[in-house]
């Protein structure tokens, strides 16, 4: 893989040859690429699960699936989409593109970053190995006790869920931690915090939210696992516990989670819109402030998932107020996007089509969200297909369309090849039509009394036709996804060369080659405006300080990067980054062994895992791994 070119910068940033080099790679682009690919595979798996479910519900009293299988499928569908797709894909885009947008060469802690990926991969495999064990989680993605407790789920189903999800959450927290430090410290000189791209703003807020929202769920799952394995009763009223404790902890995580998923998608839209309308974004400060406001407000709304639990009306109304309030920053962002579109000259290529799809669908989902925020209406709508429809409008509209927009926009940067406009347009329209056909009728059938999470329903009470429409729609969506995937695969061989900047972009990632060199930028860019590529020449080396020339043509074989100050991005110091490490893989594997030990109740396996953890942590801290 590596050929010595004589250029020290190229040599030191090259991946080591062979399998060991691949396993030990720590560069953010390799890690990010793996994250994106893995998340997308999980997305497809979760999508196929939904096709099985839709086929089952296409007709009343269907016997295509037995109830056990159906319950497993909806549990794994929700778990996969939330934990293995939506959160990782946002962070994955962050890991790949934020360093490029900031003019950085790598993440601040590349080895930790690699560990995050391995933990994610192993956690996902751990969850899915439940299919091999014949013990698939079946208590829903929210795993309410007592149903998920030792008495009503005595087999190992829920252990797979609890440990697998914890594993993935650890990965999420690690990536968030990386992204926060990256954004605070590795911005291009001159890129004050008030000038960084809105995509970066959204990831900064998202990552900070993850740091406060995910660890409580990790703790909550630890308590549930203690109930299951040790016999404590945190959620068991018989010994003074309370199942509602889980609901509070879960939704403390679970509602911010929605915005954790959404904000990176909003960031993607903010990145694409100005480029495809050929104008600067309207209301940069408003959008950034709204992003921060959403981040804060999202921690004050968790009880709106618990409106039917018998909490008194006064308490609930407070959470209605919070939930309604959060639509204001949401509205600010939407209308800033519309204003941008209005002022610009839109170019209707697939990335912009997906952005328009996002606006049309997401606003709809936001409005039905306002409805379910109203306590009395939610008493009717809660846990019905109305809610299913609502959050698919929010999540598919708010996340999937932006993610597909982001992929069509940035894939050329990653691979150097363009996607096909016509295939992309076909895929978009299939997805858009199929999506609405699937989920619009579900609002109605929910109001007609159809609850969620049912494997079948009685005939003759008015639910049949809406379900049939939904099922047809789901297969149209699947066709759209197939076209999209085919387009991606096709571009690998047949795609037109993209060049450095196929869209006329405004942010720094378009200043480098496609795909980027391993070191991203030979010359560390300097950015003093919000649209550096439109306003200045960030890679101009002339007249700059000596350290920039030294970093461009290094005298030592090290991976060097300059760190900058938190607010105004003044250069701080030149740091050295690790080149290659197997410790992250070892650490993730040891953690996996430990969790398997817990899972099968074998202390010996657990101790081996713990010993491995200790060895890897010490080895990691002791070695620097920044010398070739």
């Amino acid at each position: 893989m590596t050929t010595v070119t004589g250029d020290r910068l190229e040599d030191v940033w090259a991946t080591r040859p062979g399998l060991v080099g691949w396993l030990g790679a720590v560069n953010h682009k390799q890690v990010g690429q793996r994250f994106i690919a893995t998340a997308f595979v999980f997305f497809l798996v979760g999508g196929v699960q939904s096709l099985f479910m839709r086929y089952q519900l296409g007709s009343p009293e269907s016997t295509f699936l037995d109830p056990e299988t159906y319950n497993q499928l909806f549990t794994m569908h929700g778990t996969t989409m939330m934990f293995l797709f939506a959160v990782p894909i946002g962070e994955a885009f962050g890991i790949y593109f934020v360093p490029l947008m900031l003019g950085a060469r790598d993440m601040p802690f590349p080895r930790l970053n690699a560990f995050g990926y391995w933990a994610y991969l192993f956690g996902g495999i751990f969850l899915y190995s439940s299919f091999l064990a014949g013990s698939v989680p079946d208590s829903g993605w929210y795993a309410y006790p007592p149903l998920s407790g030792p008495e009503y789920s005595p087999r190992s189903n829920l252990d797979f869920w609890l440990l697998g999800v914890t594993f993935v959450e650890v990965s999420g927290v690690i990536a968030a931690f990386e992204i926060v430090v990256l954004i605070l410290r590795f911005r291009a000189p001159g890129m004050a915090i008030s000038r960084m791209p809105l995509f970066v703003w959204s990831l900064l807020v998202t990552a900070t939210m993850i740091l406060v929202a995910f660890p409580p769920l990790i703790m909550g799952t630890v308590l549930l696992e203690l109930d299951r394995k040790v016999g404590t009763g945190f959620y068991d009223p018989a010994v003074g516990g309370d199942p509602m404790l889980w609901q509070h902890i879960f939704w403390w995580f679970g509602h911010p989670e929605v915005y954790i998923i959404l904000l990176p998608a909003i960031g993607i839209v903010s990145a694409i819109l100005p480029v495809f309308t050929r104008t600067r974004i309207v209301g940069y400060t408003f959008i950034a402030a709204a992003t921060v406001a959403i981040g804060i407000l999202s921690f004050g709304v968790w009880v709106h998932h618990m409106f039917t639990t018998g909490i008194n009306l006064l308490g609930l109304t407070f959470f209605t107020a919070g939930s309604l309030l959060i639509t204001i920053p949401g509205g600010v962002q939407i209308f800033a996007f519309i204003a941008t579109l209005w002022r610009g000259r839109p170019v209707f290529k697939p990335p912009l089509l997906h952005v328009i799809g996002f606006l049309v669908v997401f606003v709809f989902g936001g409005l039905s969200g306002v409805m379910v925020a109203s306590v009395p209406f939610d008493w009717q709508a809660h846990d019905t297909y109305f809610v299913v429809a609502h959050f698919h409008y929010v999540l598919i509209g708010g996340v999937l369309f932006p993610v597909l927009a982001g992929l069509t926009y940035w894939l050329p940067k990653m691979t150097g090849r363009l996607l096909d406009d016509r295939l992309g347009t076909v895929a978009f329209w299939l997805l858009f039509a199929g999506f609405n056909l699937t989920f619009l009728p579900q609002h109605v059938v929910g109001l007609l009394g159809m609850p969620r999470r049912v494997y079948t329903y009685p005939s003759g009470i008015g639910w049949d036709v809406y379900n049939l429409l939904s099922t047809v729609g789901a297969f149209v969506v699947a066709a759209g996804m197939a076209v999209f995937v085919a387009d991606v695969v096709r571009s690998r061989w047949r795609g037109a060369p993209a060049g450095d900047d196929p869209w006329g972009g405004n942010t720094l990632e378009w200043a480098t080659t496609s795909p980027p060199e391993p070191f991203n930028f030979r010359v560390i860019p300097i950015a003093t405006t919000r649209d550096p590529l439109w306003d200045e020449r960030p890679l101009d080396l002339a007249g700059g300080p000596a350290w920039r020339r030294e970093l461009a043509h290094p005298v030592v074989s090290r991976r060097e990067m300059v760190s900058t100050s938190v607010l105004d991005a003044a250069p701080h110091e030149v740091l050295t980054l690790p080149i290659h490490s197997l410790w992250p893989l070892g650490l993730a594997a040891a953690l996996g062994v430990f969790l398997i030990g817990v899972m099968v109740d074998r202390t010996s396996i657990g101790l081996v895992g713990l010993a491995g953890l200790a060895v890897c942590v010490i080895g990691w801290l002791w070695s620097r791994q920044d010398e070739p």
Binding site: V181, P215, T232, G240, D242, V566, W622
Partner: protein, 204 residues
């Protein structure tokens, strides 16, 4: 000075050791501690939530834990915090010797604390399966003590690294981070001490 469209600003690196603001590793540690703190807060929330709903907390038949042993342990831990602060300042500007001595004292006092605290817990004879009070007590307590134990391991690790070596920037940073961790672990314990011991009567 370099002129950009946004005005003049300084592009030169400050001289080493004169950097205004914190190191990247410092930010990393603080960010990580935020995540751990939100885990510990979850246990605090669980305790308060369950206690507020209970008829009696501790439940009938269980005595509130005695204050004396835990208070002695807490005092020792506070002393170790002072030693930790000395190590912190030594990590910034001081010499290897002072740093080594201060981290050693911190770790030692920490070990004494763990011994005292474990002894106290054993004396309480809590039965995790019998009542959620016992389970909450043990888990909340264990999280804090575990943080202190990890802190001790980190301090010992630094001792090994400092053995006969010259203090470089990386080791200084490691020591600063160990001190930050130590403050955090003390904070965890104070939350436990305040709720489980001092606050034991509140929900009676």
């Amino acid at each position: 000075m370099t002129a950009g469209p946004a005005g003049e600003f300084d592009l030169d690196l400050p001289p080493p050791g004169r950097i205004a603001g914190r190191a990247t590793g410092w930010w990393g540690m603080v960010t990580g501690l935020v995540a751990l703190a939100s885990m510990h807060s979850t246990l605090l929330f669980a305790h308060v939530y369950l206690a507020a709903r209970a008829q009696a907390w501790p439940p009938a038949g269980t005595d509130a834990p005695g204050l004396v042993p835990a208070s002695i342990a807490t005092a020792v831990l506070m002393l170790s915090g002072v030693a930790g602060a000395v190590a912190h300042s030594a990590a910034g500007t001081g010499g290897t010797r002072r740093l080594q001595a201060a981290t050693a004292v911190t770790a030692l006092l920490g070990a004494v604390f763990v011994t005292l605290a474990v002894g106290d817990l054993r004396g309480l004879e809590l039965e995790m399966r019998a009542h959620v009070y016992d389970a909450t007590f043990v888990v909340f307590w264990a999280f804090a003590v575990f943080m202190i134990a990890i802190g001790i391991a980190g301090l010992v690790f630094i001792q090994f690294q400092l053995w006969g070596a010259r203090l470089d920037q990386r080791q200084r940073l490691l020591a600063v981070n160990a001190a930050l961790w130590w403050y955090f672990a003390i904070g965890c314990w104070l939350a436990v001490y305040g709720t489980l011991y001092l606050g034991a009567g509140v929900w009676r």
